[in-house]
């Protein structure tokens, strides 16, 4: 699990802090940010393997942020966090290239599993590109 970077974007600071702490506890290099705009700015200079992105945020919402991120870093995998049980926002995210979505309140182990799968997929893609 070490050696890969995760960016968590959520406007709920308490949640953000705790998630980041728990990821770091598991030797994941995690960074937490509270808005989409901030995250996009941060991505100008930084690289991440996986992003965990909240759908409902003030300002730039999750879907918009996802579009921008995919433009900037097409290989970076994004997992959507949604408060909605509606399939729609999750499906929309998937169509825009998100790796998967998790319904809040998420089970942490489940989230970890999804992060691992996302990272795997990213490394496969990178492998292909290198070979190609």
């Amino acid at each position: 699990m070490e050696g890969f970077r995760v960016l968590v974007v959520d406007d709920e600071t308490d949640f953000l802090e705790t998630i980041v702490k728990r990821l770091r506890k598991r030797k994941v290099d995690a960074v937490g940010l509270t808005s989409g705009v901030e995250a996009l700015k941060y991505l100008e200079t930084e690289h991440f393997d996986v992003v965990i992105l909240d759908v409902r945020m003030p300002g730039l919402d999750g879907i918009e942020t996802l579009k921008e991120m995919k433009k900037k870093r097409p290989l970076m995998e994004v997992i959507m966090l949604t408060g909605h049980a509606s399939v729609e926002s999750g499906m929309q995210g998937m169509q825009l290239g998100a790796f998967d979505y998790v319904i809040k309140p998420a089970d942490f182990d489940e989230l970890m599993e999804k992060i691992r799968q996302a990272r795997e997929r990213k490394s496969i893609h990178e492998e292909k590109l290198r070979r190609g």
Binding site: I19, K21, G83, H84, A85, P105
Partner: protein, 554 residues
Amino acid sequence: MEDRSYRKLHWKIVATTLSFSLVPLFVVGFSIYYQFSVSYKAKVMESLRTLTENRANAVDLFLDERVSQLNTLVYTNSIDQLGDERYLTRVFTLLQMRSKSFVDVGIIDAEGNHVAYVGPYQLKGLNYRNEEWFGETMLRGIYISDVFTGFRKFPHFVIAIMRREGEKTWILRATINTDIFEAMVKAAQIGMKGDAFLMNKDNILQTSPRFGGELLGKVGYPIFPKFQGARVEETELGGEEALYGIVWLKDKQWLLVIKEDPLENLTPILRTRVLVIALVLGGVLVIVMGTLLVSNAVVRQLVKTDREKAALDAGLVQSSKMAALGKLAAGIAHEVNNPLAVIKEKVGWMKDLLSEEDVEASENFKEFDDAVKKIDYHVERARKVTHRLLGFARRMEPIQEQVTMNRVIEETVDFLKNEAHYRNIEIRTTLDPDMPTTTSDSSQLQQVFLNILNNAIDAIGKNGVITISTGYDLKNRELSVSIADDGPGIPSEVLGRVFDPFFTTKEVGKGTGLGLSISYSIVEKLGGTIKVASQVGKGTTFSIHLPIVNHATA
């Protein structure tokens, strides 16, 4: 309430239709009858007039003949010839050959002495100078007397003709038996109550009528002035309502009266009246029945349309309510979800930290561990609630999705578990595990089951059993769900109306009367049927059948 207005409308339609169709019927019936009776009466009157005129003519003719016979006799013979009784006898025999009605004949001189006489009576030598007829004859030259019985005690009348022969003036006088024109007049006595008679200007009968009077008796009629032609009237004369034909004779101031019983004559009119009444009544019956049928059909159609409309309106109201409620629920769930997520993560973090703690170092470790697990468990509980809320909060437009009926039912039952538990109502489910899936709308189905289950719980009140069973029939390609309660049941007079919009047996404010009608329209929209069966005291069963629809999946 609704029912009464439909009934009112029904009667309004009936009344309008009836007034529009019955009035012409009555008018037609009445006018046919009226026309018939008028023309028939006219015919009867006309035939009576003809009869009266004919009879009068016959009597006139009879009198004319007698007068002209006697005239011939008087002007072809002199007094000297006729004064001779042998000659007179010969002449009289000739007269009798022509007409049997002559009884006798006599010659009277200007002083009123009977000069000669031929006949069955002994009248010779009588002097008539002071008799009325003698004066009249001398005055007028010809005289026809009224009927009298005279010395002979049988009715007869006299025709006398005067002749001035030079200086001699004499009279021939013949007596005529009235038998013959009694017969003539009586021929006109028609039917059971018809009558015919002659009377003079003082209403003294000249022939004997059949009823009410005898020869030479007086009739209680008004005195008629002389008039031309025959008069036919339906009036009351002498205390009797009848048809009267009246005519004055030409030769003599006698009045011929022919009386007919209107009832006898107008029987065909009465028959027609009965027939018309029967026809009109038949028509009325047919029209009334037709009107009732049509009106019933119209009102039934209207009720159906209203029901559909109400269901539609109710559905719209309901779906917009549900949509609003959905938004609200989603908002709340989302707001609650965020703090829940935080709590969950914090607890997770505590778990992480506790896992690194030395068990022995903290005497409260077990307590902490326990508390953390409990918090985690209850967060999980809360999460279930919010997720279910979000599940229910879906929009209400019918969607097409693969539906697993058993799961829909389980979710719905889950939702009512607490309510049922408080009231000590057991919800038993016998679900067929092999139920095929179908394309339908699970949240709308859930609404249907919820409505029916809520009603069942309300009906039972406390302590009872609700049994939900599912099954399927591949041959007819349908799924069936039955929901049975052991509540008080629905009385049969109410059973037919449970799906009516706005029909409710609940207290005011408790029920809208829309639940079942919405359910009905939902099931119908999904292509299924919903039926209810109930026995008072036993319970009620709703059975829902839905088609198995499976779109070809790629």
